[in-house]
Symmetry: C2
Subunit: 155 residues, 2 copies
DNA sequence: TACTTAGTTCTGCAAATTCAGAACCATGTA
DNA sequence: TACATGGTTCTGAATTTGCAGAACTAAGTA
């Protein structure tokens, strides 16, 4: 039985980051696992370590890990001769994730467009505001690549 | 008893937009109310109209409306001589909302910064990736005003 | 004063979520 | 073959959520 632990300060960071992740609707245990993989000194943790550090059941651990893997937020590696898997946060892909996240705006603006099309002409101010929102969302969406470029340039 | 209704097409838009709002963790009924106030031909609806169109109970209607008011997403007006309130989506403030939403990134990046500070020097690649994320989040955050300006200019 | 209107608040149920515990399985090892 | 390891899956219990229904309140009206 490994007895790897994290410090009190780290525990608090796991909680804080965990709560942040919860806002996106993921279940608490999965959020803690995700947070732990970011906060922990080791970037790669085994099933057992995760379970013990967070003090949750095997089923909760299994469920959380698989959820995160499905959501493409966690991956695992194996080591030659070991059956254990080493789980780690998939943060190297953060740019792809962020682009995907930002691009969700596109789907909203498409929906808002559809809505605005069916709105009566009479509610002019409202429609105009909606049109402005759509215009801005589309603009931002189109600007994303440029945003990355300017960031790269500035570094 | 008023018998104001919405079309089938509108109902579907309310559902779609409602589901979109649900992603942010708000309760279903409140999301439907919000969506209705965007989709409906009338931009201002009474308590009774909302309740009847969405076919929900008074308590659900009351709860949803008050939640939305607290979240600053809905406001109401009154008309002289009438006791009823007319509720409407507070979309005219969309810029403020959007800036606030985007600025939430700042809070995450602050937290990530705190985390990165306590990480061991040994996990170099991980720390660097984290630092890059933070850098990008801060950059985007700083760029928000400029983004609005460029959008205005382009219009 | 009694009644209507416009909503609020309380009670409680039904459904969904989340997780622990135990049994189970698959692979490797002695 | 027996046992250990690294999980997965099933069951069910404890919360939590979301809302209906009914009672209630506050303000205006006849």
């Amino acid at each position: 039985m490994t007895e790897f632990k994290i410090t009190q300060a780290q525990k608090e960071l796991v909680e804080k980051l965990g709560v942040y992740y919860e806002k996106s609707g993921m279940q608490p245990a999965a959020c803690r696992v995700m947070a732990l993989l970011i906060v922990s000194d080791q970037t790669e943790l085994t099933f057992e370590e995760i379970q013990q550090i967070l003090n949750i059941s095997k089923s909760a651990t299994s469920g959380a890990i698989n959820l995160l893997i499905t959501a493409n937020r966690v991956e695992y590696i194996t080591r030659p001769g070991e059956r254990k898997r080493y789980f780690r946060a998939k943060i190297l892909n953060w740019k792809v994730d962020m682009i995907q996240n930002m691009s969700q705006m596109t789907s909203v603006s498409a929906l808002l467009k559809e809505i605005n099309k069916q709105r009566p002409k009479s509610s002019k101010e409202f429609n105009n505001t909606l049109a402005e929102m759509i215009s801005f969302l589309e603009f931002v969406n189109a600007e994303i690549p440029a945003l990355f470029k300017r960031w790269e340039a500035k570094k």
